[in-house]
């Protein structure tokens, strides 16, 4: 079980969180024309990276905040966590 540092609550066990996918995905703006390809990329196409990447988790059984977690998908090492409104540098 992973040990995730919620930026609001501190170190908590994985079973308090739910996984929310790739954090680098940006939702296209509302009311803007978008090609089929770009839309499909947003809805469906994910890289499924092996290694270090940023992903979303929600502290479901805690503060209910969505957070960004930098994790290595192969080793499960967690490097950093950010609040929802903090930009990935």
């Amino acid at each position: 079980m992973l040990h995730i540092k919620c930026p609001h609550c501190g170190m908590r066990s994985q079973n308090e969180f739910s996984y929310g996918g790739d954090a680098s995905v940006k939702r296209p703006e509302l009311n803007k024309e978008i090609s089929d390809q770009d839309w499909d990329n947003f809805v469906y196409n994910r890289k499924s990276l092996r290694g270090k990447h940023w992903e979303l988790w929600q502290h479901l059984s805690g503060c209910r905040q969505w957070i960004k977690v930098e994790r290595d998908t192969a080793t499960h090492e967690i490097f950093d966590t950010l609040k929802a409104n903090e930009e990935i540098s």
Partner: protein, 998 residues
């Protein structure tokens, strides 16, 4: 029976407490502190079971967790448990055990014929033998294998024992209480660290209990007892025996199983049988020791052949002789220690040492005691069937290739020592990159991935002085890092006998003309010849060899067999062992009972049960409950002998003719507040929300980004910036997360707050033509007329002094209202509704009637909004705004979603108006078409229409909009039904929706 192999005045058992137990129906006696194994050996019992494949007789090989053979079926307090190691099971009064894997009895086992057929049971025999003819698998092979194989029988009864889970945090978790575990725990504890020290066995001390050493002028055992006594008194230390750390998981989380009651005849009241500890440790010290390695020789699986360390443990801990005529076969000094213990207790052992001329204090001691030592000698084969009777021994050449003339010597046990294998399972599980240590011919931990350190014998160190020094140092350094304290303890003086190097010899060559089975894996009957065949057949990866031959599989996971298997593969392949690598170590280290893993989460406790505030009323009024997600909801209220069909029909009919009341507390409720609340709703729902007036409700559908319907419900504008959203019961949690996702991550600029209020409000749906009359009586001071409270209207009102919210919304299709009050007042509200409703013939209705009402009205619900349908499929396209953007809108333009012949919801009526249509059935054009019959759609929900008194179903049908009036067939191969049907509008009752507005 007498304990004829029990020594007097030796051992750590309590001779004042004699225990009686049964093995295979016969009564024996042992002492408190015995294991089942030690008590059986004390009684001279060495035949305990039959082997897995050849059904060869099996005895005891080890004295603890490494035991591959002695697995029994245990009976305790009316319960039975398989897969129990006799070497681990502590004896209690009244214990009963039986052999496994033998039939009809352990002494006469029919399966032993496999032993003579072994030529037909080579490596991979399951894969080869049972393949042809194919039809034989189910009828012949599988039942045979099932009967012949297995390590016991699982109980089919409900387990009445309790198991618990515990979460714990500590600075240092120390696995194993041998010298390195005790020293590091002591050093860390004295320096203020929070320490958990776990010992798998009942006694602390590990090898200190059996070795002849002196620490600080005390025997090893006394020193260990002193340390444990001191640790127990320290508030920052948790000391646990009978507790095995069996798994090392991510982020330094380890799991330990504590066997609290297994050693007692009966679990004490309020005690669990076992407890599973989830421990998050800042640092982990692995002091799990070593397991002695066997030497491979002919018939080395005969009962009486066992590890020399086990023989020593039986003697020193339990006061039990494994034989009176022992032969010790060793390639290192450890075997001498066992022989010396025999000699000290008046038994004359013979030592066969593969080495030519070893020089050490221990060898000298054996010589001085007058022990018969034969250097450069090996055991070629054990002789005897159910117990060792003699050994064929021979000289071996210096290059270990040639053996000399074979001679037979009498013996009743062969104690084998092929040096030591560090127990690196936990380190390996943690992700440690292990390395091969040439000095000890074994893998040891290498580069750590997590915060773990392996100490002592588990790290390949077999020198007590060195082990204790490094363990004290490590415990101190790690604790200092965490506690920032600096209390160093002084180091005791250590006296131990010096040993010399071991011989890398591990397998005795076969004498000319002999074809003895030489076993590598004792639990799975894997012999040298099996590995040779596997390699000949082209298997190379050690992982493949393992699976093909079953080497190192099953419950002992190769604790005694792995390294010899690797040695053999490396010899044949002409590669060094590290190039072969070892197979992956996976948790658990040794079997863990399913009960402990599940813990308290069994039966009703496997998920929470949520009850509405009106639950007790429902119970009192004969409600039959149904699980709706985690909620318990009344399915119908039983009157007299009526069944579900009759009861729900009565309730639904009463709604259509009079008035009914339904508990809708379970609906998800989300309170939405903020100046941008309307904008949020406008983006989340498919329809327009910016112009909803205060005091009005609106039905809405929300999509996922992929265009699929996620949920539906009504949302009411309570005040300018305050909305009350309802969701379906099932999706309540997901919808809240969905809103939070968009508010926190996608549109943080929206000034809105959302919070779940599902449990804050109790809800009652009042539905039926007489519902307004009832409402007027319930709320005499409010204007609930069609003008005062029109369809989709909302008002706050006073219910006999209680604040209530009234929503004029309808799921049943009748004139209907939903009344919400604060949860605490739910029961009051309910009772008032029932009381006042009597004159209107009110009846409560359950989920079954609720379904009937919505199905015949064509209102879609969970069975249509099933995660596969878009708004069009549910005839909800009218709610999809063309003007504004919303979540998932762009997906709706995808080709498949705009196809002319999209599936669409329709109504289905059987032509005979009698036959009920099973849910999940398929719709086809021609019931006699050849298979696969093209499927046009499926039945999503079925009911008995109370309006028309005939069956009615909803279906999702291809090109549904053009199919109204068509005649099709419903086919249910599962129920063996073919029903001719007509396709009708899904709005079967009141298609214009006049009732809800009346």
């Amino acid at each position: 029976m007498t304990q004829s192999f029990r020594l007097e005045n030796v051992g750590l058992i309590n001779r004042d407490k004699k225990l009686s137990f049964k093995f295979n129906g016969k009564t024996y006696y042992g002492y408190e502190g015995d294991t089942l194994a030690s008590a059986l050996i004390a009684n001279g019992i060495h035949l305990i079971g039959r082997s897995f494949k050849y059904h060869r007789p099996r005895g005891f090989f080890g004295a603890g967790v490494d035991e591959p053979y002695a697995i029994v079926q245990l009976f305790r307090n009316g319960e039975t448990e398989p897969n129990i190691k006799a070497t681990e099971q502590e004896l209690f009064d009244g214990l009963e055990a039986t052999s496994v894997n033998c039939w009809p009895s352990v002494n006469f086992d029919i399966g032993a014929i496999n032993n003579f057929l072994k030529i037909f049971l080579p490596a991979g025999f399951y894969y080869k033998t049972f393949m042809w003819p194919k039809s034989f698998w189910y009828k012949v092979y599988e039942p045979f294998i099932r009967k012949a194989a297995g390590l016991g029988v699982a109980s089919t009864k409900h387990d009445k024992e309790k198991y618990e889970h515990k979460y714990e945090y500590c600075d240092l978790l120390i696995a194993g209480s041998g010298p390195s575990g005790l020293a590091s725990a002591y050093a860390a504890a004295k320096n203020g660290a929070r320490v958990i020290l776990a010992e798998d066995k009942s006694r602390f001390g590990g090898t200190l209990l059996t070795s002849e050493v002196n620490i600080g002028n005390k025997s090893g055992k006394e020193w260990a007892e002193g340390i444990i006594a001191e640790l127990r008194e320290m508030p920052n230390v948790t000391v646990k025996n009978r507790s095995q750390v069996f798994g090392y998981y991510d982020h330094n989380m380890l799991v330990m199983s504590e066997r609290i009651s297994d050693h007692l005849p009966k679990t004490k009241k309020f005690h669990p049988k076992q407890k599973l500890w989830y421990i998050r440790a800042k640092e982990v010290l692995i002091s799990s020791g070593s397991i002695e390695r066997p030497i491979v020789f002919g018939n080395n699986d005969t009962p009486g052949v066992m590890l020399s360390s086990a023989a020593k443990e039986y003697l020193k801990v339990y006061g039990v002789l494994v034989g009176r005529n022992p032969l010790v076969f060793t390639n290192n000094d450890s075997g001498y220690e066992t022989a010396i213990e025999f000699k000290k207790n008046g038994i004359d052992p013979i030592i066969l040492d593969t080495r030519k001329n070893p020089q050490s204090e221990i060898v000298d001691e054996a010589k001085n005691l007058g022990i018969n030592i034969k250097f450069s000698h090996v055991v070629v084969a054990a002789q005897g069937y159910k117990k060792v009777k003699s050994a064929d021994i021979a000289m071996i050449s210096d290059d270990k290739e040639q053996i000399g003339a074979v001679e037979s010597i009498k013996c009743d046990c062969i104690c084998v020592s092929g040096f030591w294998t560090p127990t690196i399972h936990l380190a390996s599980q943690s992700g440690n990159k292990t390395k091969f240590n040439e000095d000890i011919d074994a893998f040891v931990p290498g580069v750590s991935k997590q915060n773990e350190t392996t100490l002592g014998a588990a790290n390949g160190s077999y020198n007590l002085d060195e082990t204790l020094k490094s363990s004290f140092e490590t415990g101190y350094e790690l604790s200092k890092k965490i506690t920032k304290k600096d209390n160093k303890i002084s180091f005791p003086n250590i006296v131990e006998k010096k040993s010399t190097k071991h011989d890398k010899f591990w397998c005795v060559p076969l004498p000319k003309g002999k074809n003895y089975k030489r076993f590598l894996d004792f639990q799975n009957d894997v012999a040298v010849s099996d590995i040779e065949i596997a390699l000949k057949e082209g298997y190379r990866s050690i992982e493949h060899v393992k699976r093909y031959t079953t080497l190192g599989m099953a419950t002992d996971q190769g604790k005694t067999s792995n390294l010899n298997g690797l040695q053999l593969v490396s010899n044949i392949e002409n590669k060094v062992v590290p190039a072969i690598g070892h197979t992956t170590f996976r948790p658990p280290y040794s079997p863990v009972s399913i009960g402990a893993i599940v813990g308290r989460e069994v039966g009703k406790n496997s998920k929470p049960t949520r009850r509405s505030p009106m639950h007790s009323w429902h119970e009192k009024n004969n409600a039959v409950f149904v699980d709706a997600g985690v909620w318990l909801r009344p399915r119908y209220y039983k009157q007299g002998d009526e069944n579900l069909f009759e009861g729900s029909k009565r309730e639904a009919k009463n709604v259509r003719t009079n008035v009914g009341v339904c508990d809708v507390t379970t609906l998800g409720k989300i309170d939405i507040k903020g100046p941008d609340a309307a904008e949020l709703l406008n983006r989340v729902y498919t329809n327009a929300w910016l112009k909803l007036p205060v005091g009005k409700a609106r039905y809405g559908v929300m999509l996922r980004e992929d265009g699929i319907v996620m949920d539906d419900g009504t949302t009411t504008r309570i005040s300018e910036n305050h909305y009350h959203m309802t969701t379906t019961t099932a999706q309540a949690a997901n919808v809240l997360s969905h809103l939070e996702y968009y508010l926190q991550l996608v549109w943080p600029e929206l000034n809105v707050n959302v919070v779940s209020t599902t449990e804050q409000w109790a809800g009652a749906a009042i539905a039926g033509p007489k519902s307004r009359d009832l409402l007027q009586k319930l709320f005499p001071n409010s204007d609930v007329s069609n003008v005062g409270l029109p369809f989709m209207g909302y008002m706050e009102a006073d219910l006999f002094g209680i604040k209530a919210r009234i929503f004029r919304i309808s799921f049943s299709g009748e004139l209907a209202y939903e009344v919400n009050v604060e949860s605490d007042n739910g029961n009051f509200m309910w009772e008032k509704i029932i009381e006042v409703g009597q004159e209107f013939k009110i009846q409560p209705y359950g989920t079954e009637a609720l379904s009937t009402l919505r199905i015949e009205m064509g209102h879609v619900a969970g069975s249509e909004l099933d995660g596969r349908t878009i708004p069009y499929d549910n005839s909800l396209e009218g709610l999809v705004s063309k003007k504004k953007d919303f979540i998932g809108k762009r997906s709706l333009t995808r080709d498949a979603f705009t196809a002319e012949d999209r599936h669409k919801v329709v109504g289905v009526v059987p032509l005979d108006k009698k036959t009920s249509i099973p849910e999940g059935s398929h719709l086809v054009k021609d019931s006699n078409a050849p298979l696969p019959n093209p499927k046009l759609g499926y039945i999503s929900a079925s009911c008995w229409s109370v309006e028309y008194d005939n069956p009615f179903s909803l279906a999702i049908l291809k090109d549904g909009k053009n199919m109204i009036g068509e005649k099709l067939f419903v086919m249910s191969p599962l129920k063996n039904k073919v029903i001719p049907v007509e396709i009708v509008s899904s709005h079967y009752v009141d298609p214009k929706g006049e009732r809800v507005r009346s």
